[in-house]
Amino acid sequence: MKTIEIVLNGMNRSVSSEEGTPLIYVLRNDLGLTGTKLGCGLEQCGACMVLVNGEPTFSCVRTVEEFEGCVIETIEGLGNPEQPSLIQKVFAEENAAQCGYCTAGVIVSISGLFAKNPRPTDKQVKEVLCRHLCRCGSHPRILAAIEKLRGQKLDE
């Protein structure tokens, strides 16, 4: 067992887990944050994306020790059904999810991108999104949501 300190969704947490455990299992099982999804465990699909110090980061391979001292944000940290973030709100309004399995990862990545740059170029958007797979074909709705977001003032 190893204990590390992180800032998770705005709170200081010390997290104990067996050494070598990929971050996603700790988030989902030990900390109850099941919004982050496991899709491949191979850093190929983006379902497991979380923000680490503001950067969209896969959580399915890298072990929890590697995140010592990091600021981590998961989908739950961005908003909740009663108080969704603007990005979450626009995704919902545009129905930018079918099954919704890929959605949290996509929203996390887009939140990271917009936090740095509220008017990203097409190229920047595609670059970020190309780390995400969606099998339902929600891509056009997701792109429509992002189009709507561009240039809008973000809450925070």
Binding site: E18, T21, P22, Y25, R28, N29, L33, T34, G35, T36, K37, L38, G39, C40, G41, L42, Q44, C45, A47, T74, I75, E76, L78, G79, N80, P81, P84, Q88, K89, F91, A92, E93, N95, A96, A97, Q98, C99, G100, Y101, C102, T103, A104, I107, K126, L129, C130, H132, L133, C134, R135, C136, G137, S138, H139, P140, R141, I142, L143
Partner: protein, 718 residues
């Protein structure tokens, strides 16, 4: 007596809806949400008929026992089945309660108005709610199929934009998927699969077994079925890897790696003549292919090919189960709780009533994926580890290697056209494996579950006979919708093919429509005829004609904006020749690396009366994107040792860098029947892409995927 498929089995109003205290209504349905947001549409239908707020309605999770048995959520039929049933049930309830209210107030039914669930007499303060009316007298009546439904001119909810139910939970990560289940006394489980289909477990290292026991990790072994269970998920993951490393397998047979299209025409098969969309008689003689050449006619022969394709769900299949020694409870993300109940009961030799199956949402599956198998794996492990709750997840590799794929297909077409541009003869033969290995109640359903083939008392792999029904599996949409003189249509159900297959979105329609609509384009090109005009010339179906004409308008309006190097391809189909219509145009370019870049999609659909317009749009877009992915990139690869498409690097699907602009027109037909939408775009998408590639660069691609290698080799041959 009700004749409707869902109403005949579930005839009472209370089978579909219940009034509950505090102004709530609960809907029951056998159709499940698999990403298509069917429950959103069902709620809108009920709210519309009852004149209540959709927020007052909840949908009960589908489970055996309490939910109507609607078999599977398949074939783009949920609206026709559950949608229709709920509409009639709600209208019956409203009528019945209007009669009760009229009696209560001593007035005629015509005087009763309904708003927000209150039945009242205008200009008085006399009012009573649905809930008060049913309080002491629950609705016992049967659904009246002849009941008048609300006039569509009065619709307030349908056809408008709505945010899908569950959407707020999805976007905030609080939507509960089966993968997120937390059950009392739960073990996380993983299965250790053989290297390929035809393998037997020889042994597992004894020392490792002892070690695992010391670590409180449970090993389940039944014949060649191997699984581990542990309190911690990561411990289960690691244990599965350790077991996999030490397990030894005996390979009994290698996979036949010869060219699949050779096998399709060479292997043993049943060849059946298709008439009016079905096989009326298995013994009908197949007339020989007409080889005579009428002078002045042009005859084209072409062979169209489609490889094995994956469902490729983004979240690997999962299942959960708990067994108390008597009763087995199963949670599944599959598309039919009742057939799974029958299959699991048979496989584990339990009484049907002792197996309870409940649906839980999973990632999208688009047909018969690994979902049923994963549910059974969980049940099997639970049966061995009594009193533990088991949450079993397949890995990415399990999913890629073990799901039943969409069958490979080959379509051999021959068509002749005279100098007036009229098609004078048409022949279409399709060679393929089965599209139906789902569990079917009454037909040894257990044999359809993957792991039953690896148990001590293993079941043989199922060999399903050819489907004979209208637009069944392989021959779905082999029947052209166009007006051709006596088309010659042959279905070849081919046996002994290398990979496990079953239902994937649209079944045979995907390959058949690709073939028909490619051939239509080839003929139009040979005659130098406009592809719209050529199709319209052979079409009598009025609604179909309207979608094509509307598509032409959309395309023509935009033509000035088309980049010079771009090519446009069009296609048209009516799914199963009885469901939704789709006319499609694809604008694309082929770049310097011989890759297809999609620019814009034009699509006109007619799905009958539109309930949830956002849901229809998502299904149209999603179907097109998925089919574009199949057409451009996908092919399950394998060799003698097994499947080699073991992860997303080895099985490419469409990414965000090739998503075109969309121009979609949904022709609403208020008051007409629901036609369904989920599968109507797949075949047209493949054909329109092939036709557009030909239009852009003059290369006719007849074999999917249309990737850069295919385009380069077509260029070399041209």
């Amino acid at each position: 007596m009700n004749k409707h498929v869902s109403l005949s089995v579930n005839p009472k109003v209370s089978d579909w809806l219940e009034f509950r205290p505090a102004g709530r209504v609960i809907l029951h349905t056998g159709k499940v949400n698999i990403g298509q947001h069917i429950t959103s549409a069902l709620v809108l239908i009920a709210a519309e008929e009852l004149n209540i707020d959709p927020n007052q309605i909840a949908v009960a999770q589908t489970r055996t026992g309490s939910s109507p048995n609607e078999n599977y959520t398949v074939g783009s039929q949920s609206m026709q089945h559950s949608g229709y049933a709920i509409k009639k049930a709600a209208a019956t309830a409203r009528n019945e309660l209007t009669v009760r209210a009229a009696k209560f107030f001593g007035v005629s039914v015509e005087q009763i108005k309904i708003e927000d669930g209150n039945l009242f007499i205008e200009k008085t303060n006399q009012s009573i709610s649905y809930w008060e009316l049913v309080k002491n007298a629950p609705l016992e009546c049967y659904v009246d199929e002849t009941v008048d439904v609300k006039n569509h001119a009065l619709h307030q909810l349908q056809g408008k934009h709505h945010i899908a139910r569950g959407m707020w939970d999805i976007v905030t990560g609080t939507y509960e998927f089966i993968q997120d289940l937390k059950l009392p006394n739960m073990l996380h489980a993983r299965v250790i699969r053989p290297p390929q289909y035809h393998a037997k477990l020889v042994n597992v290292d004894e020392k490792l077994i002892d070690k695992l026991a010391e670590e409180n990790i449970y090993l389940v072994r039944d014949g060649s079925f191997l699984a581990v269970g542990a309190k911690s998920e990561f411990a289960a993951v690691k244990a599965a890897k350790r077991v996999a490393m030490t397990a030894t397998w005996q390979i009994e047979n290698s996979l036949d790696e010869s060219d699949i299209y050779e096998l399709l025409v060479k292997n043993k098969r049943d060849s059946l003549l298709v008439e009016k969309g079905c096989i009326p008689n298995k013994d009908l003689e197949i007339p020989p292919l007409d080889k005579t050449n009428v002078q002045g006619d042009i005859t084209l022969n072409a062979i169209y090919k489609k490889p094995y394709i994956m469902h490729g769900t983004i979240g690997p299949s999962s299942g959960a189960a708990v067994f108390d020694g008597q009763e087995l409870k199963v949670w599944t993300q599959n598309q039919g709780v009742y057939p799974l109940q029958a299959a699991v009961a048979e496989a584990l030799r339990l009484q049907l009533d002792d197996v309870l199956v409940q649906f839980m949402p999973g990632a999208g599956v688009y047909g018969h994926s690994g979902a049923d198998d994963a549910a059974f794996d969980a049940a099997l492990i639970a049966k061995h580890l009594t009193n533990f709750s088991i949450l079993l997840k397949w890995t990415r590799e399990d999913e890629h290697c073990w799901e039943p794929y969409g069958s490979a297909m080959q379509c051999n077409l021959q068509a002749s056209v005279n100098s007036n541009g009229e098609i004078t003869s048409w022949s279409h033969e399709t060679f393929s494996d089965t599209f139906l290995t789902r569990p079917v109640i009454g037909k040894e359903p257990a044999s359809r579950l993957l792991s039953t083939h690896y148990l001590n008392e293993s079941k043989p792999w199922p060999v399903t006979p050819p489907m004979l029904t209208v637009h069944g599996g392989i021959h779905r949409n082999i029947e052209p919708i166009y007006n051709f003189p006596s088309p010659r249509l042959v279905k070849h159900r081919v046996y002994d093919l290398p990979l496990r297959t079953s239902a994937l979105r649209a079944l045979g329609a995907f390959g058949n429509i690709f073939a028909i609509e490619s051939m239509m384009d080839e003929l139009a090109e040979a005659l130098k005829l406009d592809p719209f005009h050529f199709r319209l010339k052979h079409l009598n179906d009025e609604q179909g004609i309207q979608t094509l004409i509307r598509l032409q308008e959309l395309v023509d309006k935009d033509r000035v904006n088309f980049p010079q190097e771009a090519g446009l391809g069009i296609s048209f189909a009516r799914y199963k020749n009885s469901a939704g219509y789709c006319s499609l145009g694809v604008l694309l370019r082929v770049n310097g690396d011989a890759e297809v870049e999609l620019i814009k999609i034009f699509c006109v659909v007619d799905v009958g009366e539109v309930v949830d317009i956002s849901g229809v749009r998502s299904q149209v877009e999603g179907g097109i994107v998925q089919a574009a992915s199949w057409s451009l990139y996908e092919q399950v690869s394998y060799d003698a040792t097994g499947i080699t498409s073991r992860d997303w690097d080895k099985y490419q699907i469409i990414a965000f860098n090739n998503i075109p602009e969309f121009c979609i027109d949904i022709l609403d037909r208020p008051g007409s029947s629901y036609l369904g939408v989920g599968e109507i775009t797949t075949g047209p998408t493949a054909a329109a892409i092939a036709n557009a590639i030909n239009n852009a660069v003059g290369l006719r691609l007849r074999q999917m995927p249309f990737n850069s290698e295919a385009i380069k080799s077509a260029a070399l041959l041209s």
